[in-house]
Subunit: 298 residues, 6 copies
């Protein structure tokens, strides 16, 4: 007789049915960064999740950062990393190093995906004119080659998806002067998700989610309406680092992304758990009037 | 913290990765019959399995029988079912009833699939000229409208698959005289799988698989090469009912089907277990020189 | 010298030119029922007509009934057919028989079409989710599995037409509860024609057409504007059986079908005569302000 | 009641069924010339036939001549037409006139087709590089711009057919020196039919067909195998004008055209009669071993 | 070492880059007539220019006249050409000759293009129903088969461009009565450019361009806004022949053509010079508020 | 009047006609390296040439190296570059730096192309599984992550070309172990050209071409047959650095590339001069029996 272990496995697969169906051929943008990028085991877990999403018929796109690795290489050539208001001061040489390091990280992810049997193509925001930027100031101060996304031309992403590749994007863009600019990876992921009206935008972070009270771990919010998210910011209930992230979530929903998730990248397979089980992970930002999808009666 | 149960679920999904990848866009013909068709719970299990295969990117086709239900309705109109050498003697009226009953079963399966959110289309071998038959004799004796598949025109199946429907086929065909003939469902499934060079042909049966010694339950064969299958038949090691089934398996492999499985339809989710786990179920019939796929080094 | 008979034949073909041109690639829904379904010769005539329409470039769809045959089989299993206000009371078993019988009729038509060299595919309203229904009451009374069409999803029909098949539809649908419901064939044909904005909807009936005075055979109406059709109903000038049929005609025109015809299915090749000659058959229901097409000056 | 006249009409249409089916989407090249081009009524008849063929799904191509009209215009400008061995001596000015006249005839045919509601495009062998020629000598003598077809590039014809136009071709070609050459219309039609492996090539002529004995009107041959056609030529049983025509027929069959017809263009609708009725008109040239198609058992 | 001559050549090609890019896949209608049609060397220059435009990715269409050649042939058959208000009185025979001559000119251009290695197809406004006309009166007087363009059906042009042919159009059209009408070539070119919203419409003429003062050669206008063009006409600053041409330019811009050029066809390669260099040739008619394109900052 | 300078420009464009035509839609692989990569002006010249090739309808692909820049960065992090038999000893860290530097160079080229108005996409041999490698030994010695191309999967290149992007490839590949390997850029370009049966493969080098006698500058070879190239190698007539390059040329021709060029990248616009003028630059390697293309009589 077949033992229970196998039957249980079958049950898990069967439970995945409605989710596989719901996201069939939908674009899912995954901002990949933080611990999940440093820990080798977590890295494999995340990439395996994305590969699975691809194989079961979704259209995932990875946007990755690389901050810590950039700092390491800046140091390696004997420079000191400088920050103003949390933004890296990016002179010519720093920009050159940043582009190289992000390129290297990009190809590592491509390699990892390919080793799992899915064809990936790694590009930067320069390729196919994907990301055009404006120079970003920090408190009115010029901090070098740091850019705000000005326009997104997602043609190259649609083309790669049509040809069945998994696109992996590093957050570099071109200015009108064709100079190279560094872009915050959260911003890049958000802009891309908006331009494609993605079904989902998921941020892999190093926090559990959004708290109603940052000092109270039990106040983690499962579902947050856009209006409430705005209130949290206005009322000063969220800490500094969380504000731009939450703002990205709000922007994405208002630009047509169906759902945004702040996930804890330190949990193995947090992406799969979020998508395939009825156990919500982290915080979901929703349009007003919608309940979380796995509570919906469709 | 996320509890272990959810992490285990994620692991099962991740384990499915290589199988999802292996059978991506491959045609899998499932002969569905026996207990799995009578027991309502098993029926739902089988159909859920097939729906999952569809959703994760495979191209399943169901070929079903309906023998017991036919007998029930033959009785209902006051006729007595007659068999010669295990083949139903099929006069005009019996054929009429058989076609009606198989049509009803066909639409029940369509309904079940649709209720799980996948679009199905139920056809018989008449539709689109799918199955052309010759009259089949039983020991030289005319037993009426019983047919052997003569040609398969799989265009309608390719068309339905292209349009993303799940085809469900009942084993009725047309003679050159455009008369209606009943076809053994195993034979129909085998002929269809051969004409499409299917990746897999799976027979859901009421037995555990093929035994080296029919009297010894411990002699179940996991993997059987075509050559050995032929020997089993020649040496008289398999019982009567098994011979035509085994012959179908041999034919299918020799006509280009990659792998044929005799599965125990009484095990819930036997199809998923066979395809998605490294626990082989039933007997796999293989081309000479190949090990079972999950032992292969690819 | 070529004799006159042949020259006359050529003339008939040449006369067909403008009609062939007018309906090129247009969808024509034919409700097939009544005597034309019982008389074997008339049946062949109707099917030959539809096959010709297909071959000269039209896109015909057959929707058929099967009332008399259903009653025959209900009797065969020892049940008594029951009607309320002309609607069959349809309990579980009756529904089961009705679906079986309609399925059998469906495949007979498929066979007949195929024998004339055109590929047909027979489906029910369950296939591809074609017909969704609400339960229909009869004077407030529950009469079982009798349905009103709620929504039509014509994708399967467009797909089959694109792949060059002739679709043949039997009027069975699914409720929201995925139960099987019987649908009046006139209603099903009308709903399908509306959903596809068909060029023509033709009802093959056992009457000559609509009469201005039901008691006066000479008062047959050739052309009837929607407004006048409504008056006929309101003024009580049409008998009971005709009211729902006329209402279907009115609905179809108002939903975008270009022309609806009530034809006498007892006249051999009535469909061809209607479409290919300047002899109007039966009654045409028209949009206000249009003359009958073969009087139009285009 | 519907009177017999209409029922007879329906019967004629129904009889056309198998032929419509047989030639569906097949290329049929019609060489149009002789009396059928001079008599206005016959002209309309021929063009109506071709338009009907187009509308019922065939892919007709007209190749036309214009000999008499050329002679008329040559005279009009005060030149004398000169012939050597039946071939027009074609100096610069004659060639110029010939091209103009053929162009005019071409557009007249285009106009006639368009007035019947089908889109036509008139081209010469220059357009799209359709016909390349070698200079043709007459008994070793240079007779000017008279060409033999050297190569056919049927791309423009396939493109026009794909775009649903009816192509009308006048027999003018280019030499390797890009000079303009006149081509015999029979030769041009034959070369085009061969290059497209047309289903049919039909020559509209001013004779009833091929005779076994030119002096005996009762010896008209209905079906002629290629081998027998060769014998007729070798044994001197056919007169001078018929030899090149018969040779074209033989070439066409040997190059892959399925059937060639020599039709009497003086019979109204001879094309329709040949294709749509079981009354063969004129002489059919066949591949050895085939009976005429309407005697075949398919 | 490579000498300067070759390096200069490379520079010219490089300078062409932005123009090649700007007009990539854009439709450019060239009205070809006047001296450039009579002088053999200028003719080759114009056709080479158009062929180059085709090869570097533009979609040129030639519309040609043939007035002088028509007069020559009218004379040749002993008729006298008659004009009323500058419009040719076009009786039956004149129309016949005009169509023949334009057809001949058309095929000469086809031949020239083909000799340069590009596939051309020559059509008249009859082909594919391209040009439908109304009879045009001259001061209220019937001058025969002279037509005003009533409608353009550009399908045949789009089809030929899609299939990579260069279309060459002669200005003949059909009336509602299917009679043949002569059309002014400027009018035909303008109507075609409008119907396709062409990027450019260029008139090759025998003048240098539009003058602010027709008596002062130094008053040639390089760029002319639509409003100013209207003023020139209203104020009587342009001579008789120029008025309809200027009106065509105004119409074209107002119907959506991006830019219209009046070029001096007597300058070799005037088309290339206009398109590929920053030396404007002739007069450009522009939409209000736009500077000439090579002064734009894009 | 238009001055001579402009007419000369037009002439140059017209001269380019036959070459534009010859290479329309053909794949041209350009190995870009050496001085042309260091000198900023030469770099712009090369990229402008490639952009022009793209715009006039060719399908260029750039494969670039980056040796000098790699050495500079290896030095920057305080490592010493080590070479064995001219091959860089490539340990883990060197490979990491090499990949980063090549990635940076890649995106600089992408930026330059985009600034000229053409969409480019920069990839490495990892993307889409383009280049799979075997470890390469140097005289039997392991020199680290240096690879020989084992297989090319050009799908990603065909996909990018189809979507109208200009692909720019850096010579990095994956081993079977999914480790990163450096590939000689000449080898990568050659392998890619072979896998796509490119029309042309052009090596931009720092030499004028191949000499019959390396010591005699006047012995530069314009055209070299494969057989003669082999003789040069066997007879020791070519120096060390030239041998592998010449071997690549020989391999390419034998694998189906139509023509290979060794060009002097120090000459501005050497690519354009080679392709668009009848002044051959450098050395062309040809298949036996062919003269250089611009001497051919086609």
């Amino acid at each position: 007789m077949v033992n229970q272990k196998y039957l249980d496995k079958a049950e898990v697969l069967i439970e995945a049915l409605p989710y596989i169906q719901r996201f069939n051929r939908k674009v899912i943008v995954v901002k990949y960064g933080g611990s999940a990028m440093v820990d080798e085991q977590l890295k494999r877990d995340v990439i395996k999740d994305v590969v699975l999403l691809k194989l079961v018929g979704f259209k995932p796109i990875i946007v990755h950062g690389g901050g810590k690795e950039i700092s390491r290489w800046v140091g390696k050539v004997g420079k000191e990393a400088k920050f103003v208001n949390g933004l890296r001061v990016t002179d010519d040489e720093t920009m050159e190093i940043a582009e190289m390091v992000l390129g290297k990280v990009n190809k590592e992810l491509v390699t990892l995906v390919q080793s799992l049997g899915v064809k990936a193509v790694g590009i930067s925001g320069k390729d196919g004119g994907l990301l055009k930027v404006n120079k970003k100031l920090s408190g009115g101060q010029d901090i070098g080659y740091v850019g705000d996304v000005k326009t997104v031309n997602p043609k190259i992403l649609y083309d790669l998806l049509e040809k069945d590749f998994l696109p992996i994007v590093c957050p570099i863009g071109l200015g009108d002067d064709f100079a190279t600019y560094n872009i915050n990876a959260d911003d890049a992921a958000c802009a891309i998700a908006c331009s494609m009206k993605a079904e989902k935008l998921a941020f892999l972070t190093d926090i559990e989610g959004v708290y109603r009270n940052p000092d109270d771990p039990s106040s983690l919010i499962s579902e947050l309406f856009v209006k409430d998210a705005k209130n949290l910011i206005e009322n000063g209930n969220v800490g500094g680092g969380m504000i731009p992230k939450l703002q990205n979530c709000i922007d994405a929903i208002e630009e047509g992304v169906s759902r945004v998730h702040i996930l804890d990248g330190r949990i193995p397979h947090c992406l799969l758990l979020e998508i395939f089980t009825n156990k919500g992970i982290g915080t979901a930002i929703l349009r007003k009037g919608e309940g979380k999808y796995y509570h919906e009666d469709e």
